[in-house]
C-alpha cells in the first residue's frame, strides 16, 4: 500500500494538525481527545451544531467547521465512530448556553456513541438534541434492518442547521428544520474502485475491470449489488431512478443537487456526471435551483460518486445561500 501518510495510526491527528496549520483564523483543534471547534467557540446565545463520525470522509466533517455551518466536528479513527469522551469534550467546548445539536449519520456505532455522549453531556447540564441523517436509498427493507445509512445528505443538513443557528433559531426549531430536510433528502452512490484503509493496507473490496459497486456506502462496505461497468450517463440514470423512485418529485419542483465525489474521482468526471443529472432532471421538469459539485463526503481514495437530491422551498434556499466560511465550503463572505 502506498499512501501519502506517515504512521497509519496517526492519520487523524496529523490531518487535524494540518487543518489547524492551514486555517488558524477559522478553527482550533484538540488532538487528545480529537475534535475541532470554530475559532470563536463558544458563541454565546447561539445553538451549537456538532457532528462527527469515523474519519476517512474528509472534508466531512472537520472541513465544515466555521461560521455558518458546524461549531464542532469530532472525528473518530478511520471509518470508526468516535467514542463518547471526545464528543462530550467538544460539546462542552462549543455550548454557548443555547444547547447543542448533534447531527449523526445513521450507523449503529455513531448512533450509540453519540447517544451515550448526549446522556453524559446532559448530566453536565448541557441541553443536547440529536438528529439522525439517513438519506441513502441504496439500503432497502429499512424497517427490519439497521436502517438507511447517512451519506452526503449530512452535508446538507449541517449547512442548513448551521445557517439556522447563525440567524438565531432555537434548538427546537433547528431540530424541526433538520428533520424536515432529512425527510426530503435522498442519495445514492456508485464506486468503480475500492478505498484502502490505512491501517489494513488492503483494498476494502476487489472489483474486476468490468464491474462497479452500485449503491455503495462510504466505508468500503460493498454496495447493493455488483453490476456491469457502464458509461457514466447510464450510472447516473440508474442512481436517479432509484432516488426518484424512493421519493418521487413532481414536475415543476425546485431541487438542490449535490454531485459528490468519493475521494479520488477527478473533478472533470464529476461535472460530466452532473451534466447527465441536469439533462435527466430537466426532462422530468425538475428545476435544479442550487447545486454543489465536489468531493465532499468521501471514502478515502475510493473512485466513484453519489447524487443527493433535496427538494427546496424559499426558506431552504435562503438557508443554503446564507454565508458560510469553512475550510471546504465558502460563500457569501
Amino acid at each position: 500500500m502506498k499512501k501519502l501518510i506517515n504512521d497509519p495510526r496517526a492519520v487523524t491527528t496529523e490531518y487535524l494538525e494540518g487543518l489547524a496549520a492551514a486555517h488558524p483564523a477559522l478553527l482550533r483543534i484538540s488532538t487528545h481527545p480529537a475534535f475541532v471547534v470554530r475559532a470563536d467557540a463558544p458563541v454565546p446565545g447561539k445553538v451549537a451544531i456538532l457532528s462527527g463520525g469515523g474519519s476517512g470522509h474528509e472534508p466531512l466533517h472537520a472541513g465544515f467547521v466555521g461560521a455558518g455551518m458546524l461549531d464542532a466536528a469530532v472525528p473518530g479513527p478511520v471509518f470508526t465512530s468516535p467514542t463518547p469522551d471526545p464528543i462530550v469534550a467538544a460539546t462542552k467546548a462549543v455550548d454557548g448556553g443555547a444547547g447543542v445539536l448533534y447531527v449523526v449519520k445513521n450507523y449503529t456505532g455513531d448512533v450509540l456513541n453519540f447517544e451515550t455522549a448526549a446522556e453524559l453531556a446532559s448530566l453536565d447540564g448541557v441541553e443536547v438534541r440529536t438528529v439522525v441523517v439517513n438519506d441513502d436509498v441504496a439500503v432497502r427493507d429499512s424497517l427490519y434492518t439497521a436502517g438507511r445509512r447517512g451519506v452526503a445528505g449530512a452535508l446538507v443538513v449541517e449547512k442548513i442547521a448551521g445557517a439556522a443557528a447563525e440567524r438565531g433559531d432555537d434548538l427546537d426549531a433547528i431540530v424541526h428544520l433538520c428533520r424536515r430536510v432529512i425527510g426530503l433528502a435522498r442519495s445514492m452512490g456508485v464506486a468503480i474502485t475500492p478505498p484502502t484503509v490505512p491501517h489494513s493496507g488492503e483494498p476494502s473490496f476487489v472489483l474486476a475491470d468490468d464491474e462497479v459497486e452500485f449503491g455503495i456506502g462510504i466505508h468500503g462496505e460493498p454496495g447493493r449489488a455488483r453490476t456491469a461497468f457502464a458509461p457514466v450517463d447510464r450510472l447516473v440514470d440508474e442512481l436517479l431512478e432509484a432516488i426518484l423512485e424512493d421519493r418521487p418529485i413532481a414536475a415543476g419542483s425546485r431541487v438542490l443537487v449535490v454531485l459528490n465525489g468519493m475521494g479520488s474521482t477527478p473533478s472533470s468526471e464529476l461535472y460530466i456526471a452532473f451534466r447527465r443529472v441536469a439533462q435527466v432532471l430537466a426532462s422530468a421538469g425538475i428545476e435544479i435551483e442550487r447545486s454543489l459539485v465536489g468531493s465532499l463526503v468521501t471514502s478515502l481514495d475510493m473512485q466513484g460518486f453519489s447524487i443527493t437530491v433535496v427538494p427546496l422551498d424559499d426558506e431552504l434556499v435562503r438557508l443554503w445561500d446564507a454565508p458560510v466560511h469553512t475550510a471546504a465550503l465558502r460563500w457569501g463572505r
Binding site: 470508526t80 450509540l112 447517544e115 489494513s200
Partner: protein
C-alpha cells in the same frame, strides 16, 4: 469451585492477547461484509484495558474489574462494538456487585446480564447475524450447565463451545442489524465479525478459569 478477581483479570489479559493475535482475521471478516475495522477496534480497546490492569487495587472485586473494562472499552473502542461490549461488561459488573467469588450460577447470570445489555442497546434479536447470536447461545449453554450443577470450568467451556458454534452458524444468514444488513443477500456465506470476537472472548474466559480457578 468458584472464580474470582484473578479470573476476571486473567480473562481480560487473555482476551487482549487473543484479539491482538486475531486482529487481521477479524478485520478481514469485517472487510467482507462491513467496514474492515473490527479487528483494529477490539485490539485498540483491549490494549487500553491492558494498560489499566496493572493499577487495579489488591482488594478489587470482580465487579470492580468488569466496570473498569466496561468504561475503558466505551472510551476506546468506538464504532458499534464499543458501546455494545461496553454495555455488556457494565451489566456484567452490576450483576455480580459485591461478590468476591463467583460460582457457576453467578457466571451464568453474568453472561445473561451482559447479553441483555447488548440486546437493549443494539435492538438485535438472535438470528440477525450479530454478536447477539454468539452471546445468546453461550448464555443458554451456561444456564444449562449451571442447572446441571457443573463447575465454572466446565460451564465456561460449554459457553465458549456454544459461542464458537453460533459464530460459525452466522455464515449462512442474511444480516438484519449492523453494517452487514446493507448487503442483503450478499452477506450470505460470511461470518459475522462481532460473533467471532465474542467467541474468542468467551474462549478466553474458559481458558482463564482453567488457569485461575481454585478447587
Amino acid at each position: 469451585m468458584t472464580v474470582g478477581t484473578q479470573w476476571v483479570l486473567d480473562w481480560a489479559r487473555r482476551s487482549a492477547a487473543v484479539l491482538s493475535q486475531h486482529r487481521t482475521e477479524l478485520g478481514d471478516l469485517d472487510r467482507a461484509i462491513g467496514d474492515g475495522d473490527h479487528g483494529e477496534n477490539m485490539d485498540r480497546g483491549f490494549t487500553a484495558v491492558m494498560a489499566k490492569l496493572d493499577d487495579v487495587p489488591q482488594d478489587a472485586t470482580p465487579s470492580d474489574v468488569l466496570r473498569l473494562i466496561a468504561t475503558t472499552l466505551i472510551s476506546s473502542v468506538g464504532g458499534a462494538a464499543g458501546p455494545l461490549y461496553g454495555t455488556a461488561y457494565l451489566r456484567a459488573s452490576e450483576s455480580v456487585a459485591d461478590r468476591d467469588r463467583l460460582d457457576s450460577s453467578a457466571i451464568a447470570g453474568l453472561f445473561a446480564a451482559a447479553t441483555e445489555g447488548i440486546v437493549q442497546r443494539g435492538k438485535a434479536l438472535p438470528g440477525e447475524k450479530t454478536m447477539v447470536d454468539a452471546w445468546t447461545l453461550a448464555v443458554e449453554a451456561a444456564l444449562q450447565s449451571a442447572a446441571r450443577d457443573e463447575q465454572p470450568v466446565q460451564l465456561l467451556a460449554s459457553a465458549a463451545d456454544a459461542a464458537e458454534a453460533a459464530a460459525a452458524a452466522t455464515e449462512p444468514l442474511v444480516a438484519r442489524k449492523g453494517r452487514a444488513s446493507y448487503l442483503g443477500e450478499r452477506a450470505i456465506g460470511h461470518r459475522d465479525p462481532g460473533a467471532q470476537s465474542t467467541a474468542l472472548i468467551l474462549r478466553a474466559a474458559a481458558d482463564a478459569a482453567v488457569a485461575t480457578a481454585d478447587d
